[in-house]
Symmetry: C2
Subunit: 411 residues, 2 copies
């Protein structure tokens, strides 16, 4: 079965990102067995049809190699009892399996006198590597009628205010999120639309954001709208993921889950575009074209914060994004998308930037990094955080179980 | 050279859409020669690198098979003389060639002490079938300082108010448009961003809209967010294009050009999704899944407005979209995209729908169709027109010439 497996497909199966792991095709079977990320059953059909597995130890859309598009939906929950909410996730489970399998959520030879079960706009498209990631926000646990307050993880609370935040309530918070990622934007949209439609009156859209990734045909880290590679230092091995992303075993209903942080970061492209390459690179702490740390040659060369030039001056400036982020000494999984949503009507500037999404076993990692960036980060001059939310993403779903089961069966 | 040409690639070269023309690969050379749409020089490299030709009798992005993404930009012109505007198009010509060739607009080994010439976010991506279409709006001719008033075609005027229009000024009008279409959204965005950036103070963004198309891997007409195929009756042969799209020879600077009409049409998905399949089909006048006219089996079966069922009742309802549109007896080239831009904050409904774009040799064709739809079209219940603009698109550019030359050299 290894005959047709490309590097990207293998990475998809093993849940590894582009960096750091080289495995020959012949070694694939063993690797697949050794890992638990959205893997089994592994078969050629799965690969051929651009499908991501729904079932697994962890949810899809996290270790899954990043797709071209995201439709991120933050929802308000209207369910009035815990059982109603539980039923919603039970309902969404088989629907998610079908969607990620590239199928309609219901029989298409439906009774013409009722609305079609599936809205149908993906007919003719394949699964397009759709992944679906579900999470719950802090506000869900404050809904007394749901009786979930005692199950709120201590890590799950609204993010603190960071210097330079200029948040717009229209892109903040949410009781529940669905992150739908796919290589076709209509597939991602269709998934959210149909899940919400079937939830009839149990949820409302609070905010949504689309995003895209410029994936080079030959693989490699995509560039954001500042033209810098985004995601270079991501975890890549299963050990990295265990250390950085997955909540440790045995602690709570969140075991094998993770925390999702989403930030809608406007990039001031006009200002950026008036900045010299040298200053752009000094703001990031990396070279633009290669992605290498300043003074080095290759994207994956190690970032050495003590490296100096011949005048004994730090190569990576102390106020650069990379310097400050690394100084926090915390790791997160970045899984970001660019967005371009028209113009800001007041100024005529591009309403464009980064839909930053990160996954981490403890939100403190993100908070520490963000606090380290603080007021110092030279990149601050070019960006403004406009939206923010945090969600606790359930562990993966085993066959016969349903999304979020551990939350509902914990007393 | 025909050995590796797929149907899609052939269609791209011949400027034909999916319907209507079947040519064996062996017949390709002759067809290519017989047509003038963005063709020459035709070579394997052009195909291999996902490139659309810039030069040709007509501009790209019109007869070009529709791409996955659009970044549509409507601009305000700040140039204060005709020569300044002319210089802008002269500047944009070689830049457009480079962009459509998948190249940076300038040398990337630039002086690090100045801003990079190219913003760089497409490094690592190929041309992604980028097409660029330039047009000028009626308001451009009203700028006295430009002295173009006498060159305004009588066909180029703001569209009349149509029943059910609820236009938002934030998505209307413009002195100039750039329609950037590509199979990668970052490539489309990059093109507009760099053209505008180089136009330093000569243009301002007025409004922009992104859109996408759900292109089936095996070809065929894409579905809109109502799940109906969009573009079935499009012109497909060169004769069709001459009859429908291209302004006739010898009449004016618009010879071989065309008129672009863009409408931002919100689709009320929530209402639609509560409608029975039968009523959805009755609103369109077609079957959803096959795309066939009601009562027929295949998408491209002819629409017969007189066909009746066994009770002598019209198969295609008189108030259906297809019935009314066909009744106008006018043809246009539809080249639409879906959009999904978050939610309408006041209602929480999807801000999603159709970025309708059509090309026609005379805007009256669109106006007649729209007037025929009028208040009767049953689809009106599910859609609202929110944005509108019209642009006169120049003819194509010959080597050694520049975009819009005919406009500037006509006395």
């Amino acid at each position: 079965m290894s005959k047709k497996i490309t590097r990207r497909e293998m990475l998809k199966l093993t849940g590894m990102t582009a960096a750091g792991v080289a495995i020959g095709a012949s070694g694939f079977g063993g690797v697949a067995k050794a890992l638990g990320y959205n893997l089994m059953p592994v078969d050629d059909n799965l690969l051929a049809a651009n499908k991501v597995m729904f079932y697994g130890k962890h949810q899809s859309g996290i270790a899954t190699p990043v797709q071209k598009h995201v439709y991120f939906a933050s929802l308000e929950v209207l369910a009035s009892t815990k059982e109603e909410l539980q039923d919603l996730f039970k309902l969404w489970t088989p629907l998610s399996v079908r969607l990620m399998n590239g199928e309609d959520i219901g029989d298409s030879t439906t009774n013409a006198y009722v609305p079609p079960t599936d809205t149908g706009e993906t007919n003719g498209l394949d699964a397009s590597n759709l992944s679906l990631t579900f999470g719950v926000g802090p506000s869900l646990f404050e809904k007394k009628e749901l009786g979930l307050a005692h199950l709120k993880p201590s890590e799950l609370k609204e993010l603190p205010h960071f210097p330079k935040d200029q948040l717009d309530e229209a892109f903040c918070g949410g009781d529940l999120c669905i992150q739908a990622c796919a290589d076709d934007p209509q597939v991602a949209f269709h998934a959210v639309r149909n899940l919400i439609r079937q939830a009839s009156g149990k949820v409302l859209l609070k905010w949504t954001q689309t995003g895209f990734n410029a994936l080079p045909a030959n693989g490699g880290t995509p560039r954001n709208l500042f033209s810098f590679k985004d995601g270079t230092v991501n975890p890549s091995t299963p050990t990295d993921f265990d250390r950085t992303v997955w909540v440790d075993s045995g602690k709570s209903w969140m075991t094998n889950g993770t925390y999702l942080i989403v930030r809608r970061i406007q990039m001031h492209l006009e200002t950026w575009d008036r900045t010299s390459l040298k200053d752009q690179e000094a703001a990031f702490g990396r070279h633009r074209d290669s992605g290498a740390p300043i003074g080095k040659t290759n994207e994956f060369d190690e970032v050495d914060l003590t490296a100096v030039d011949k005048n004994n001056k730090l190569l990576i400036p102390e106020d650069s994004h990379v310097f400050l982020a690394k100084k926090a000494n915390k790791t997160i999984l970045r899984r970001a998308f660019s967005y371009s949503s028209g113009i800001v009507s007041a100024t005529g500037a591009y309403d464009a930037g980064l839909l930053f999404i990160s996954f981490q076993k403890d939100p403190k990692s993100f908070i520490d990094i963000q606090n380290s960036l603080g007021r110092l980060d030279r990149l601050n001059e070019y960006i403004t955080h406009r939206g923010s939310a945090i969600f606790a993403c359930f562990p993966g779903v085993a066959k016969g179980s349903y999304i979020g089961e551990a939350l509902f069966t914990t007393l």
